[in-house]
Chain length 335, copies 2
């Protein structure tokens, strides 16, 4: 049974999840890759559907049934969830400490039935389908009144925290608004209060004017090297118009997002030789929507530098590559 | 020339430091260990003093001179500093973005002349000397009016971000108060305003009462598994009485801290098989001291789990080991 604990000083939530400790290699020495994969028994491969929990959603060929081969993209619950969906929401205090039960949902999205294939090497259609799956799962999870936030993320490569090599994304719903998102919300709200403008819209405007950190744009989206990037080649993708709700994407926007995401990832793979990476969709929380002060966006973080004590201890990151140079190199890779 | 940039939404400072990119293996694929070390030419070893910048401080045998062998502990400026000491403090705005020049100081403390030796395997006297060096350097750096904060940290092991294997610590002075520290200060200040008490003093009291997360205590200090630990075996060491200024340690406190630090590290090495780790001293900023609401402490973080997209994207950490179990195991290792 997992629980959420709040640090009494900095209001940071932590999930204490002994169940996650049961995974092989969950901790102890950091090890590379599951044995299943090395022996060709990858649980995410087509044909091995029986090794995963039953599917929640799949885009699959007509005539094929759930948990059978024939799918293009497949979603199921995480076998070792950090948060449980069936628990009751219980809040407790112990002196200065606060605890709530670890309610949430952890789902895995397998992006292709084939092992060793990256979705960004596949067609725009395929990437569009992945974005549609993100959208559909967010819409469904947001209906659960116990959830405050739904996060979409992807870890690729061992050094980016992925424990399984087969291309996959994750969707995690939580009963608290995570600290990083709350900071963005409150920063954006403060800016809006003073200026009556969305700070992300201002960022889009300023970046399109100066162009020094612009990597690419299309009709609907912009990709930039973030001005205060924490990591070399840290890249953000933002809607050019004000949009606070990811899952309200129109069909046209789905395709435009697929296009810019695929080509941004390809540029990153060229300049940084297929780096391990994380990406995340920062969306608005499940309540009070749409928001006039917040703007959803994607953050893509290649893992080329290690995070040392300095970063942990201070929250002050050292980036050895200027964002302007990063954008320049990525633009060149695209031309 | 490095600069500090502020993220306009979440007020996070980032150091953009192209000079750090010049180190071999600074980024690009993550590589293990410097070539110098593999060939026995470690710049931190006794006899190789000429390979480092001139020393700032050393505890050394009588009759030996600066930058000669004969030292026990030796301090010099980082060869590839993320921040420069000679720049002027310049603040600029570019639209929604803010920049200040990258002023600061980055020093390296080599903990022993011998390669491959951990200071925690040496005597209490030796560890006490290391703490005295931390104290002396903080006192000196705090005098510079351009610095707002001085951070002491140690990275041990490649996976903890250390690029050189020879045992060393670092001291970094910055012209901004880093975000993580500012969060602690403002959380502690808020608590003090409501209760007239220091939240860390309350924590010490509650932990000593329940004892379920206590690892060890001596006359002056307490080591605990943090209630909302982000990582397995994350351990904090706190003064039992209210102390806001690390460098005001008395001689008695220096020795008591050396004792608890050495035995805590030994317990951690036993339960987690000599893990890579980071430790940090969270001290109060250089101004407005002493503080009645803040309490210095050490955070020790073994690096047994990898940090994935979920943690980046949310600031919500998943810890697969309960702090009570971690404390229990560490107590057993000590008994």
């Amino acid at each position: 049974m997992s629980e959420l604990r709040k640090d009494p000083v900095v209001d940071r939530w932590v999930i204490i999840s002994p169940k996650r400790g049961e995974r092989r290699g969950a901790f102890g020495r950091i090890r590379r890759m599951d044995e299943e994969e090395q022996s060709g028994q990858c649980p995410f491969c087509s044909g091995n559907e029986g090794q995963t929990p039953p599917e929640i959603l799949a885009y699959r060929k007509k005539g094929t049934g759930p948990d059978e081969p024939g799918w293009r993209i497949r979603v199921f619950p995480n076998k070792y969830p950090a948060l449980g969906k069936t628990q009751k929401l219980i809040k407790k205090s112990r002196g200065i400490y606060k605890v709530i039960s670890g309610i949430g949902s952890c789902e895995v999205i397998v992006e292709t039935p084939r092992h060793g294939v990256s979705i960004f090497d596949l067609s725009i259609d395929y990437v569009s389908d992945l974005i549609r799956v993100y959208r559909d799962r967010i819409i469904d999870l947001t209906k659960d009144p116990r959830f405050q936030y739904v996060l979409v993320l992807k870890n690729e490569g061992f050094l980016a925290g992925s424990s399984i090599d087969h291309a996959h994304s994750q969707i995690i719903a939580t009963s608290v608004v995570p600290k990083r998102v709350e900071e963005e919300l409150s920063g954006a709200k403060k800016y809006h209060k003073h200026t009556n403008k969305c700070i992300f819209c201002q960022m889009v405007e300023q970046e399109l004017f100066s162009r020094e950190r612009v990597i690419q744009e299309n009709e609907e989206f912009l990709s930039i090297a973030a001005f205060a990037a924490r990591f070399p080649y840290e890249t953000w993708i933002l809607p050019k118009e004000h949009r606070s709700i990811f899952e309200s994407l129109t069909e046209k926007e789905v395709i435009q997002l697929a296009k810019i995401l695929k080509s941004t990832m390809n540029a990153m793979n060229q300049v940084a030789s297929y780096p391990p990476f994380n990406y995340l969709i920062h969306n608005s929380p499940c309540w009070e929507r749409p928001l006039d002060y917040y703007h959803w966006h994607m953050e893509i973080i290649p893992r080329l530098t290690r995070i040392a004590g300095f970063e942990w201890g201070t929250g002050l990151y050292i980036n050895p590559l200027s964002p302007e140079e990063a954008a320049h190199r990525m633009r060149q890779a695209l031309s």
